[in-house]
């Protein structure tokens, strides 16, 4: 899952980026409204964590422009403004959730997970593909009681393909989703991760759930 944090506080940028990356998300960070808008237009983000009081362009302006664009990421407003009218305005302008600073990191994570589930129309955090159960909140994939020893990147690929079940996902889409803007990954890197993932799934006696559509991409049916 790919998250964009638009927040001017360098310290919050630092802690949120580190924490969310540790939880398996690809995270990009923008320090002002204009930069955040540029990121959101160029990256395919699942969730945008948006501060309201931003330099250059306010959070509400950024939100308005995001909603006017074709992309429709889930937007969580993270603001020090705690008045009811601020929350109502934020939600009316198109935000999907509103969290007031100071916040508990776990709560922020839980809300991001809920927004991701909503984005992929999943009520439960657990996606079942054949005999494999993929828990998107714990970031584990298990067959019965045995959990697969997946790396964070492999887990992210599996989760993303499972959430987009029935759709062909290209290598470029996977690169965009799995890696943040500061990381470099090629198609070969993705192929390598997919290969490793398939091997681990088979080792555990799981079925070959990831199909390759040659010339197009990958698919979980």
């Amino acid at each position: 899952m790919k998250i964009l944090i638009i927040e001017d506080s360098l310290k919050l940028q630092k802690s949120l980026r580190a924490g969310l990356r540790r939880l398996g998300y690809a995270v990009d960070v923008a320090g002002d409204g204009e930069e955040g808008l540029a990121y959101s237009k160029n990256g395919d983000y699942d969730v945008i964590v948006l501060d309201l009081m931003l330099p250059k362009k306010s959070g509400l302006e950024v939100l308005r422009e995001i909603r006017e664009s074709r992309e429709s990421p889930e937007v969580l407003i993270l603001s020090a403004r705690d008045q009811t009218r601020d929350r109502v305005l934020g939600l009316q302008q198109g935000a999907d959730d509103y969290l007031v600073k100071p916040f508990a990191f776990d709560e922020l994570h839980a809300r991001i997970q809920a927004l991701v589930r909503r984005r992929f129309k999943q009520k439960s955090p657990v996606i079942t593909v054949g005999k494999i159960k993929i828990d998107t909140s714990l970031h584990i994939a298990c067959q019965g009681a045995d959990c697969l020893p997946l790396t964070p990147t492999e887990m992210r690929i599996l989760e993303y393909l499972a959430l987009n079940r029935g759709r062909v996902i290209t290598s470029a889409q996977l690169i965009n989703q799995i890696y943040d803007a500061s990381s470099y990954a090629s198609r070969n890197t993705i192929e390598s991760h997919i290969s490793s993932l398939r091997k681990k799934l088979r080792t555990q006696g799981g079925p070959g759930i990831i199909e390759t559509r040659r010339g197009f991409g990958y698919l979980i049916t």
Partner: protein
Amino acid sequence: MRSISKTITISTILSVALILVAGQLVVDRVVSGWVLQQFDDALQAKARALVTLTKFDGNEVELDFADEFMPEFEASENPEYFELYLGDGRLLETSRSFGRHAEPQFSDQAEEVAIADVMLPDGRKGRRIAVKFTPQIGDDNEVLRISIAPQDRPRAILRVSTERETLDAAIQQFHLIILGISLVVLVAVMLSVSRAIKLGLAPLNQIKTEISQISPNAIDRRISSRNQPIELEPIATQFNRVLAEIENAFIREREFSSDVAHELRTPVAEIKSLAEVGLRWPDEKDIQSYFADIYDSSRQLDRLIENLLHLCRSEEGDIELELIPIELEEIIDKIILGVSAETNERNITIERVAGLMPTIQIDPQWFELILKNLLFNAVAHSPDGSVVTIEVISEAGFCALEIENPMAVPLGEQDLPMIFKRLWRKDTSRATGRHAGIGLSLVKSFADLMNLEVNASISRDLFHLRLSRIRTC
């Protein structure tokens, strides 16, 4: 609770009732007196007629009375009575109406004419006139009239009585009519007054309704001042003016609270988030920088809270000033040293314009706070590598201190009135910098407290803050 409507109604009705009662009493008295006077006059006229019929023929007094001319003295129903006595009390004649009743009783009198209420022989209430007179000598006896002087003639007393119950009944009826009219007038007045008050107070009730709709959530509402009566129009206008001031103060306070909340929440959020992530992943590669960041946010929070407390204390006047002589140069050196970390890091030079550095009479603690904030503000808002100038200008018995700095973010003339507002920032998003925008409001508040003047101005690209009226020794 007092009510204008009730007060006006009751006092008006009471006044009208009082006037009516007084009027009724006067009219009653005048009319009753006049009627009684007419009654007495008629009685007296009747008595005079009988007196003229009373003659003295030289030997005796006679009443030449004929019943057919005055039948009332012999009527069986509602009769009238007369009695004629000689001066010594001898009864000469009575009306026939006495025949059915007891003999009249003589009583002498001093007055020539006396009128009194009596009980008639038939038991009815009556009115009696008693006339003391000297009987006439007949016109046909000229010799006798000449030979007997009036003082030698016998005196006689005539008493005529008639009933007064009819008169009393008429007066009573008159009383009732007057009372009835008064009551009708009173009821009419009550209705009219009530209606008039309702109409008169309608604009006041309208204002009451409009005021009841004003609340903290609807403080932008106003009383309609159009079509108000001339008495209420200035009240409505003044009320609206006060309401506008309250609304502005309310908005300022709300914004202040919101800004304070933001300024406090942001460093707390930073500290909390850094601490949570650091505790959860202690192997994070730059974990050491988390501690530095937490310390920095804590200092920011500490400074903000301290400044807010100073601001509260100064605005409440909860500061005691201790004026002592201090060297201005020493205090300026100390402040410059205090900002040296930032000036060195950002390559900012602080220049002192050469001049006399006087000894000043001031409270050193709060004056240092003012200077610290002035210089911190100048350094914070100057571009890296620039020069901040401090100049001391002597005035008669006073000195002024002017700090000048180039502006990293240009300010306009329109910003100057806002400079000293609490938590004001040029950047309305409040997103940039470590400064909450409270320093200059502290400067202003403490300057006011210490009777100093502080002014901001802009010339070319330079921002000037001038602190004047500093008393020198």
